[in-house]
Subunit: 196 residues, 2 copies
């Protein structure tokens, strides 16, 4: 049940609409927890009913025919976020389809295996680039979210706020590096097996 906490956490940096949250989830800094837009809209309505967030309907465009709903954390929402952060999380049990499939690669042709490793390599190379970019942004405190967050916190906490996020994103970058290396060793392995 971490989706709600991911949402609460992002709203802690300031008001956002469901649309913005979906964007932030999928392409930007918070690619640690994946969620689709129907899930996000549904959960936001649920959080609103539980009074953990409050919605403000805003007109959109000059005519204001369209509206959007900007959500903010309530006091109760903030407390729930703090409570959650202060409980120890059990490690996630693995469920990795690529690794599972790779266990049985002897049933596939070398070309398919190469394609699988190449896809893995391309994906995680791109991810690595993203994470490294985010670490850089964080260190120079360049992201919007970080600016907003720091503005609302006392200066004495600034170091910790940045440091933990850098630690997470560096961890994600390390993971991506491990996947890139794994895929490269995999490609070398196919070649070796084919030569025999």
């Amino acid at each position: 049940m971490s989706l709600r906490h991911a949402l609460l956490a992002m709203l802690d940096a300031g008001a956002m609409t469901g649309y913005e949250l979906a964007k932030t989830f999928d392409q930007s800094a918070n690619r640690v927890w994946h969620a689709t837009h129907p899930q996000i809209y549904t959960e936001l309505r649920k959080l609103e009913r539980e009074k953990l967030v409050a919605a403000r309907e805003e007109p959109r465009g000059p005519q204001g025919k369209a509206t959007k709903r900007a959500y903010t954390l309530t006091e109760a929402g903030y407390e729930e976020l703090s409570r959650w952060v202060s409980t120890v999380e059990e490690p996630t049990l693995p469920r990795d389809a690529t690794y599972l499939k790779a266990t049985y690669f002897e049933y596939a042709s070398p070309d398919i295996v190469r394609e699988q490793f190449a896809t893995h390599l391309a994906y995680h190379t791109e991810q690595l680039r993203r994470w490294e970019w985010h670490v850089e942004q964080l260190r120079s405190r360049g992201t919007d979210l970080m600016q907003r967050r720091l503005a609302e916190a006392p200066e004495s906490r600034h170091a910790a706020i940045v440091a933990y996020k850098v630690h997470v994103y560096e961890g994600m970058a390390e993971r991506a590096r491990a996947e890139v290396a794994w895929a490269e060793r995999g490609l070398a392995l196919v070649d070796r097996l084919e030569q025999d």
Copy 2:
């Protein structure tokens, strides 16, 4: 929908009961895909209805009052397994509650943060030990499952069968090492932040 393929893959090494499959999933070599026992029993019945596996009811114990159901792959099941292995898997989108939580560790006390990193460290140290053990077992071809699998395959494929599994388990070991290192750096970080 990888649970079914995980089951088909394990049955490829020979007949097994739901109970044995659940054990194998959770504590032994195939800890790449997690599943609970109700899920496994349900999916096996479904696979049976779809004729991808066949069940043989066997008596258990000397009186044979109790029974167990041993499942084997059918020809169609084997074909489905081959088909699946030959399709390229899209990378899994991340959903990691520990990393998500760590992003907001500034809201937790240093002791809670230490406890979280220590839990992470202990878990992945244990996992690393397991994966390294499995790699050793595989290399010496010592596991039951591997013996059965090799017995049914032509000798020319033996190298590939072992090599791909070693590659996967080494990848899992590398991942565990990365998590151990991440948790250790995390513990050092808390200390540093507390000193300032």
